[in-house]
Symmetry: C2
Subunit: 471 residues, 2 copies
């Protein structure tokens, strides 16, 4: 149904047309610019686009896409380039379409607890802007200080708060989208409930920039909780930590974050950021980071104490409470910068496995067993409360998992295990470029046919982020 | 792209094939059976199918759909027939496919807080079954005592709890679906987060039985809250009640229900069910029904008192607290049976308008103004906390809004107003048969083309619930 386009250079008349649309200074073909947009955070992959375009309005994007659609020029939309599955890599050359200039928060609607924003706003900037009004936009990928809302929508991002508050898809009410044909639509309405036609909004969220370019976003907001408490609990056995996670929910608690960090990740990150906050004893295998939030401090204290008591049944060690905002910030820094730290340490691609929560111990066991079998070292961290475990693999001599057939075989075995456990390949990073070969592990030909046919409905000439998710 | 099929009788060989698949006694052509399945709860509309089939398994449904697809026989899937937009009406004749025999709860997974169920389970039966394990499935349409989970998924149902807990779409993790071609797929995985390919699960939810027949459902559950409190507050001015709704959320409260009932609806329902619970003074225009729930009774009491205090600023009258389970049940009965009562009283179709929450007063004003203009009497009730207002219209001499051009014109004006307020046609009932003519008010030709093309991807021969949502 869809065919991948071959790389091609752009004709001068196309470049001229783009300059006419956006202005000369926003159409870049110099080597430095092309190189700046040739990579994201996915291993060390590097693909040069033919041109980088930085449009400033929905209408400019529409005009650009009309030309690309007419001449079948590949277009790769890009937010901040913090993606971990290669979704923003211009692997076919052509146009790299950066949304960075669409960076305005259009309206914070305090009457309806909604915000309308452009996609190029940094996630944390948006969070802070609505927090000033007492409002809360919970989805908070680890990269929130640099990633953009538009990219978060493309990947249906999550982050630590997702366990209580849900992921991006749970906050998106309505989207303005430029289709690959250049047509502009809104996907829904600015309402909390909607049973009016097919849910184009939810189809767009997580479609990784393959169905359209999102240009305006209406998000639901909630009142910001007044208080939060944070603690860290060590475990000598990784599996026990996994069991404890599931027990917390079965006991009826609703933590606002429940993260797992394996000891190697914590040590590497502590070293990188120069932190000695967490006292590590030799026999610690992993920590759980647990946060509760709400409007009643007494209730939160009671919950924290009850959770801490429960954890002792799962061999949880001495609890470390973060005493003040600074300690909380440092603890979160250790969690949030783990991916960066282990990457620098030589770990390759970050897998984004997700399983039903209670299957976490089985997944952890399986990862370690696969390491022995395929001769790699794995480090695990992630959103344990959601069953969403990030796995980084280190194998001497392998810098890029894409070029290592043995590593690919190991990943294939990992995803087969994940599927056996009732899970799937990606919880919040997307499939992008580097995981598409694994898709047939979790989808059969009928599902893939449906998805490819939907792609063809939106993008008949297959110009927009072609070769992402599937070929 | 899609063409509506003309009604046609079924050939004997097709009936024989269906009998071979399901067994003779589950293939019904007698007049009484056909009549029983000729209507739902949408006004007094009545369309006879050619045959009623009650398959017992996914495989039987697959075999039936293969035949229908081959011979282009219209198929109307049907749950309990409680729908309010005509989605289950077999307006093209053909096969009425009842899912009533797929009525088993397959597995309540207490480890992962999930339930796997067949679609023919009554919503309240499922809620009670999981509640016995301390778990909670919140979506609770007013018809929950008779509607089926499968129908709830088709319409993306809500109900009073949606304001805190979300609608059906927020609980569906994974669906087994028989496509119109007879192919069987699962839409996703049994996980809390998923960024693996397009979101077929969310595309299926709310698609009103036009894309496939859902045969198994995996739902997320949450721990059941321990306590709830319920109160009723009268208002002399309907608009003030609407303003109060929005103020409650802006003040940071998170009620588990926030319903509005106009006085006429309450009086008619009180009379029908023989209740004198609510003391009505002559100058009452409407009531808000407000529930809070949680695990800490002190916090709930504080919240209720604070909300009550806030409401006095909006002319809220004397608060009536439901003292015990019996009073709560009676109060909820008055709300839940309002639709039935006003229908018996002569009100026609129930509109399902939804607007941004703070626009409720403007919507209410508009409805009353339209009533004066088009000479009808409207009664409003519904999920005010979500901005989802049900509107029933009474016009002497009109029993069926479908046959009254003036009423259709009035509805068109109503939906134009809803759109102007940033809202849309349906919050939780769907478009079905009776609202499809209004769809161009909120969707432009591009959106409609996308939706119809998606329909064609799933149902190339347009056999499944054809002519619903759009032609």
């Amino acid at each position: 149904m869809t065919t991948t386009l071959a790389p091609q250079s752009l004709a001068v008349e196309h470049l001229d047309a783009f300059k006419k649309i956006c202005g000369e200074k926003f159409v870049l073909v110099d080597e430095e610019s092309l190189n700046n947009y040739a990579h994201d955070e996915t291993e060390d992959l590097h693909y040069l686009p033919d041109v980088v375009i930085k449009p400033g309005t929905t209408e400019e994007i529409s005009a650009i896409l009309q030309i690309c659609n007419q001449y079948k020029i590949p277009v790769t939309p890009r937010g901040a380039g913090t993606g971990l599955s290669g979704g923003a890599l211009p692997h076919l050359g052509g146009v790299l379409l950066s949304i960075e200039r669409l960076n305005k928060i259009i309206n914070i609607d305090e009457r309806n607890l909604q915000v309308t924003t452009e996609p190029g706003v940094i996630t944390e900037v948006l969070q802070n802007a609505v927090k000033e009004k007492g409002l809360f936009y919970p989805p908070d990928p680890s990269s929130r200080g640099s990633c953009m809302i538009g990219g978060n929508i493309a990947e249906n991002s999550g982050g630590p708060k997702a366990v209580k508050y849900g992921v991006v898809k749970d906050y998106v009410l309505n989207l303005e989208v430029v289709l690959p044909t250049g047509e502009i639509i809104w996907t829904g309405a600015n309402v909390l409930k909607n049973s009016t036609g097919y849910n184009l909004t939810q189809l767009m969220v997580g479609s990784e920039g393959t169905l359209g370019v999102v240009t305006k976003i209406v998000l639901k907001l909630i009142p910001h909780p007044k208080y939060d408490l944070l603690m860290l609990v060590p475990f000598q056995r990784l599996e026990k930590a996994g069991e404890a996670v599931s027990a917390i929910f079965r006991a009826g608690f609703n933590p606002s974050a429940l993260e797992l960090v394996e000891i190697d990740a914590l040590l590497i990150t502590s070293k990188m950021v120069g932190s000695s906050l967490v006292p590590v004893t030799e026999d610690t295998a992993a920590h759980l980071i647990i946060e509760v939030d709400g409007n009643n401090m007494d209730v939160l204290m009671q919950d924290m104490e009850a959770i801490a008591a429960l954890l002792t049944e799962y061999e949880g060690g001495e609890v470390y409470f973060a005493d003040d905002a600074q300690q909380k910030a440092e603890l979160w820094k250790l969690r949030r910068r783990a991916a960066e730290a282990v990457k620098i340490d030589g770990y390759t691609i970050e897998e984004d496995t997700v399983v039903p929560r209670a299957e976490l111990p089985a997944l952890i066991r399986g990862v370690k067993e696969l390491g022995r079998q395929y001769d790699f070292h794995a480090v695990c961290y992630g959103h344990a409360g959601d069953g969403n475990l990030h796995i980084r693999i280190k194998k001497p001599g392998t810098r890029n998992s894409q070029n290592d057939p043995a590593m690919q075989e190991a990943l294939r075995a990992l995803f087969a295990l994940v599927k056996d456990l009732g899970g799937t390949i990606s919880g919040e990073h997307g499939i992008g470029l580097v995981q598409k070969d694994f898709l047939p592990i979790v989808f059969d030909p009928v599902q893939l046919r449906l998805m490819k046919s939907i792609k063809a409905v939106f993008d008949p000439n297959n110009i927009l982020n072609a070769g992402k998710i599937f070929d």
